[in-house]
């Protein structure tokens, strides 16, 4: 992948333009390699290598997006304008969405089903796991797998050793924090948003996966609109640092920016139905601190375990699925002498549902989020998990604290959802925009419904799947 100037990019007629340089665009591009295609990546921000990020302490991204928040609670949205996008600051947890997450309506009468099933994209989940050198346990077996994980799971904490042995809903957390493979092994510093040793998969440290003679990237170039003629995309207009606004021509356009900005581009372009920008949502999380009668921690990475005890079941007719995270680093410690490590640090993460009133709109041509809060369904899931989490801990314990609602889980979902037709979605099952067959939206913005599981592995798999269709 080579840099290109705006002037040179403008002179070229591209086969494919991909907006954004994070998971969604790069995993889509992975399937375009070796096909003699001229592919241009448009990146709104600069290229900042890992060493420079460490030296300058690129701040953890929060805010930066205009919103009108009527929820009564703080709400942050994590965006990252730099080459590699949020792959620079993600924590690297890669649980898969589960089969039930694709069939919420047919199983529980809630929201709507995805037009693709778990089985449709499972092989691409495997491929994404191998591209990212994921460490995970084959013994866990909550959802069907067609291949083992490429690398074994990190060492569990002391509490997880008991949890895994006595309560089968607890399993090792699969992750892209290395435990073998091309990157150095996780250092367990718990500073994963900017990994000190570059052990976590990022686009930057895995650029060789996305190398092709025909791949170029243009920096400091924000896609503003998609140009169309006769119902087909003909290219994009980008605001560049070098030349100001320029028009770039392409036979195919893939929008792999953040769900907020993908929505804004479609809205600005006048493409798509009234569904564009609607249903923006995110998981909702809450920490739980538990005192236990033995030393915990000593695990092999930051988040070592997860609990599926409240992930799926008939309760989902009324209350959201919840994934429980078990944290090793940074740990929660006790201040009583000698009991410093006798603490279990858990986080409840509930799925949310798309709600039409939570949406992206344009104000003065800039994206603005209208946010009225998480759904009652999500809060019901959290309440259920808080009430019953003790039942999943098969040793003496005392819950000593429950945190407030976290301002973000940094997993923005929705705005350009998949549907079976333009009445139910913005894109079809191949992620193509209804009515503009050579325009795709990529990333978690296309999820029909969210899930309690972290979205990155699944959105990367979806990009592989969609890239193969091109």
């Amino acid at each position: 992948m080579k840099p290109i100037s705006a002037a040179d990019a403008q002179k070229t007629s591209w086969d494919v333009i991909l907006v954004g340089t994070s998971f969604a665009s790069c995993f889509f591009a992975y399937k375009l390699k070796g096909r003699g295609l001229r592919v241009l990546f448009l990146e709104r921000g600069p290229f900042i290598d890992h060493d420079t990020q460490l030296e300058t302490r690129v701040p953890h991204p929060t805010g930066g997006v205009v919103q009108e928040n009527s929820s009564g609670q703080r709400k942050d949205w994590t965006v990252r304008h730099q080459f590699g996008g949020c792959s620079n600051c993600w924590w690297g947890n890669t649980p898969r969405l589960q089969p039930s997450d694709f069939e919420l309506f047919s199983r529980y009468g809630v929201a709507q089903d995805w037009p693709v099933s778990y089985g449709d994209i499972e092989p691409y989940m495997v491929e994404a796991e191998y591209l990212m050198d994921i460490a995970g346990s084959d013994e866990a077996g909550y959802a069907p797998r067609s291949a083992p994980f490429p690398f074994p799971p990190h060492a569990p904490t002391r509490a997880e050793r008991k949890l895994f042995a006595q309560e089968p809903s607890w399993q090792p957390m699969p992750c892209a924090r290395s435990n073998g493979g091309r990157r150095t092994t996780c250092c367990v510093s718990g500073a994963c948003n900017l990994c000190p040793v570059d052990a976590k998969f990022t686009i930057l440290n895995s650029l060789e996966l996305f190398e092709d003679e025909g791949f170029h990237y243009l920096l400091d170039a924000e896609c503003r609109t998609v140009e169309t003629a006769a119902g087909l995309a003909t290219g994009v207009v980008a605001q560049t640092a070098e030349l100001g606004p320029i028009t770039l021509r392409a036979d195919f356009v893939g929008l792999g920016a953040n769900p907020i900005f993908n929505s804004a581009i479609l809205l600005r372009s006048g493409i798509g139905s009234d569904l564009v920008g609607r249903g923006l949502h995110e998981q909702v999380g809450q920490f739980v601190w538990v005192n236990i009668p033995f030393d915990n921690y000593y695990g092999g990475t930051s988040l070592t375990g997860m609990g599926y005890g409240f992930y799926d079941g008939e309760f989902r007719r009324e209350a959201a699925s919840v994934l429980i995270e078990s944290w090793n680093a940074p740990p929660s410690l006790r201040l009583e002498k000698g009991k410093w490590l006798q603490r279990l640090k858990l986080k409840l993460v509930a799925e949310d549902l798309p709600q039409a009133q939570n949406r992206v709109v344009l104000k003065d041509d800039a994206p603005t989020i209208l946010w009225s809060g998480h759904s009652a369904y999500a809060y019901a899931g959290l309440a259920l998990a808080r009430e019953r989490v003790s039942s999943l801990i098969p040793f003496d314990h005392e819950i000593v604290g429950i945190g407030g609602i976290e301002p973000t889980e940094a997993h923005i979902i929705g705005g350009t959802p998949m549907g079976t037709d333009s009445a139910t979605g913005v894109v079809d099952k191949n992620l193509r925009v209804f009515g503009v067959s050579n325009l795709a939206c990529l990333g978690a913005g296309t999820f029909t419904t969210g899930a309690a599981a972290n979205p990155t592995l699944t959105l990367s798999a979806l990009s592989l799947y969609a890239g193969e269709q091109l």
Binding site: L194, Y298, P330, L335, K337
Partner: protein, 141 residues
């Protein structure tokens, strides 16, 4: 010298003395050492490297607010062993204990699994490799 000028100089000298005496005494450092002694026992102060850790933390504490830093030095310096645990003092004590527990191998030393005291940067925003707790993963199976 006018009376007014004399009064000003005497007042200024007195104020400087009030600040410098506790600074010289190292009020914050003494408070942190007492905290360590109370929590881990007096032998902790004999560990090589403990003084450096305490000095680094004391230097960093309140770095972004010189007025608060001087106020803290004066408060801890004047009160000495009889310091009243007002809110800010309690907060500093907790932050200090959490810092040493997270960013050093003091737990391993206390448990007899390490004899040499080691620590990473006391700056909590500095990405320090190898959290000490997890560095002993294999030894605690």
């Amino acid at each position: 010298m006018s009376l007014r000028r004399r009064a000003f100089l005497v007042g200024a000298a007195g104020l400087a003395g009030a600040v410098l005496v506790p600074l010289t005494l190292g009020g914050t450092t003494s408070f942190l050492r007492r905290t360590l002694k109370d929590h881990f026992g007096p032998e902790v102060l004999e560990l090589a490297g403990i003084d450096d850790f305490v000095d680094e933390f004391a230097a960093l504490a309140g770095e972004d607010d010189p007025a608060k830093k001087i106020a803290a030095e004066m408060y801890f310096g004047w009160h000495g062993d009889r310091v009243k645990m007002i809110g800010p003092a309690k907060a500093m004590q907790e932050r200090f204990l959490f810092t040493i527990l997270h960013r050093s191998n003091i737990i391993a030393v206390q448990q007899g699994r390490a004899t040499e005291f080691e620590y990473g940067s006391v700056d909590p925003w500095s990405p320090v490799c190898g959290l000490y707790l997890s560095a002993f993963a294999d030894e605690t199976l």
